[in-house]
Symmetry: C2
Subunit: 378 residues, 2 copies
Amino acid sequence: MKFNIVRDQLLNALNDVMKAVSSKTTIPILTGIKIDVSTEGIRLTGSDADITIQTFIPTEKDGQQLIQIDETGSIVLQARMFNEIIRKLPTNEVEIEVTENYQTRIRSGKSDFHLIGLEPNEYPMLPEVSEENQISIPGDLLKSIIRETVFAVSTSESRPVLTGVNWKVTEEGLICVATDSHRLARRIVTLDNLPKDVESVVIPGKSLTELSKILSDSSTPVNIYMTNQQVLFKTEDVLFFSRLLEGNYPDTNRLIPETYQTTVQINGKELLQAIDRASLLAREERNNVVRFSTLDQNQIEISSNSPEIGKVEEEIQVQELTGDELRISFSAKYMMDALKSIDGQDVIIQFTGAMRPFIIRSIHDDSILQLILPVRTY
Amino acid sequence: MKFNIVRDQLLNALNDVMKAVSSKTTIPILTGIKIDVSTEGIRLTGSDADITIQTFIPTEKDGQQLIQIDETGSIVLQARMFNEIIRKLPTNEVEIEVTENYQTRIRSGKSDFHLIGLEPNEYPMLPEVSEENQISIPGDLLKSIIRETVFAVSTSESRPVLTGVNWKVTEEGLICVATDSHRLARRIVTLDNLPKDVESVVIPGKSLTELSKILSDSSTPVNIYMTNQQVLFKTEDVLFFSRLLEGNYPDTNRLIPETYQTTVQINGKELLQAIDRASLLAREERNNVVRFSTLDQNQIEISSNSPEIGKVEEEIQVQELTGDELRISFSAKYMMDALKSIDGQDVIIQFTGAMRPFIIRSIHDDSILQLILPVRTY
């Protein structure tokens, strides 16, 4: 195996696959990155057994030669070491050559590295994912969907299935739901040509977070293939595989109230900032609970109280306030997460009394729904 | 106590005094910031017992009113909480009022905070530093002096005096020396009007690092006052006190060789980058040792070898090479620190054999000297 490559191209590709490599892995070969050189180009693979990322650099792109292949072949190199070496090389031209016993030589300018590689046949095979049942979503929309839901997954392993986001194909469209049983985030995406055979899947939150870092902000479609145990996200240059979570995802529809007693329409950004300030004091008590109270004259008050440190009160003008008076307490963090996912737009908040879950939606758009369970404080 | 202030002014001043406040302090009152309001303006004080920083905001500056004082007085407020509250306030106008029992009210826009303050009389007094024996150094030069020496202080408490930088007034000028007994950094500064009565002092490295963060890059002079136990750095707005380290600083002059057997003149930046690359492999073995060898034809070679991972070699063209052949090993980190302190200029390196300390200087300037002890590897 021997080739010359433009360093920046190799660095970009490495940057993507490095996201799958974990230093905590117990499988030694997975501390490495697999390099496969064919006459068409170079394929890099990184994996932590849960997530596998593969990128491809073609020998030529837009008429420009990126790689000169002298000899094809495969090798596995220590991921972090290889990445750092490539990053620090003195010139933008790199020659990589593998000789006997996986001895790998990396040359650039007057730098001459000799690395001891690993047996490429020991590297695990890619998961098999059939290319039927395809969903196609523009990259920027997919990024939004992840941002609007993934923060609400559970961080506790006591119910593993809740550490993932449930994706379900229905007649309404694709429904994405995450909940840690204290709050819930739901995003409905209407898409054409949804497959009919796909079952509901649960994608680990961590996988979606990593995927999001790789996606560009363009509307170029990402093709998604789901099977029983794996999901594959396919962009122009990258294949992103993730295992799926096993177990039945709970039916969350029954959590969402159908009638409301108090409805508030308010500027989401002002509310977010007021809660952020109130949480400064609430945080010190460890529970981070703030209070929301309706006042007369179309105002609400955000407050918190920490006997040792002090208290804070802030009034906010609302755009509309209908229904019953209300005093309710909730986690400042959950509310801030929910408001951030709606991106500072004007929001409608609908309450069913101080002890029942309440929901937050954008006034412009019904596709995002955030639900929060209040905290009993009195 | 009651005043109104422009928030940005308060934030700037807080930003400086916060650098002295440590969350690790065992003295409860030092978790706070002291605020003293007089008719002239507001003084903020933060301290961790070793370092004390005081800033002053005048009521008026350049004809612009910054503060409106309604009532003078003093209070101590929890530093981190106060800083975060001020940072997150909704408007640029802040009113702060202290009523009975140190109850403190902070208002801005519709935000209304009530904090429980601490007794200002419990806050320690400022160290006493006589304003005799003044040294005056431009701020940007003082910053350079710190950058060129402080990295070489010892991080081990086994000889506490080595955790500081020794400042000594001599006929040559101000001599600043730091050493951890494996390497040494020396900076000589020629200054006019040096005081004659000042003894040699040892300033804690940590204090100088914090001071450096506060200094601006302007040439406005910083006045420095040294006594037996304290040093005071005085800029236009800030008083920075640090305790001094006790104990005799070792005489380091005898460490510096007087004759040399090999002299190399080389581009400092190229050498730095080659050592950075070689250290990628050297680091894995934990000792981080690289080898420097003279070659014929005005070249040297930087190399390192890690039996488990691989090896690297790199040749560098030198500008001049005189004296004996040499193979020497040293800590990549020490060499990189030394070269960084000389800022990528061309350097002269003078060796006295593979087992003796060697020195590094800029070709332009004798004022910085870096010395490194080699490592025995064969």
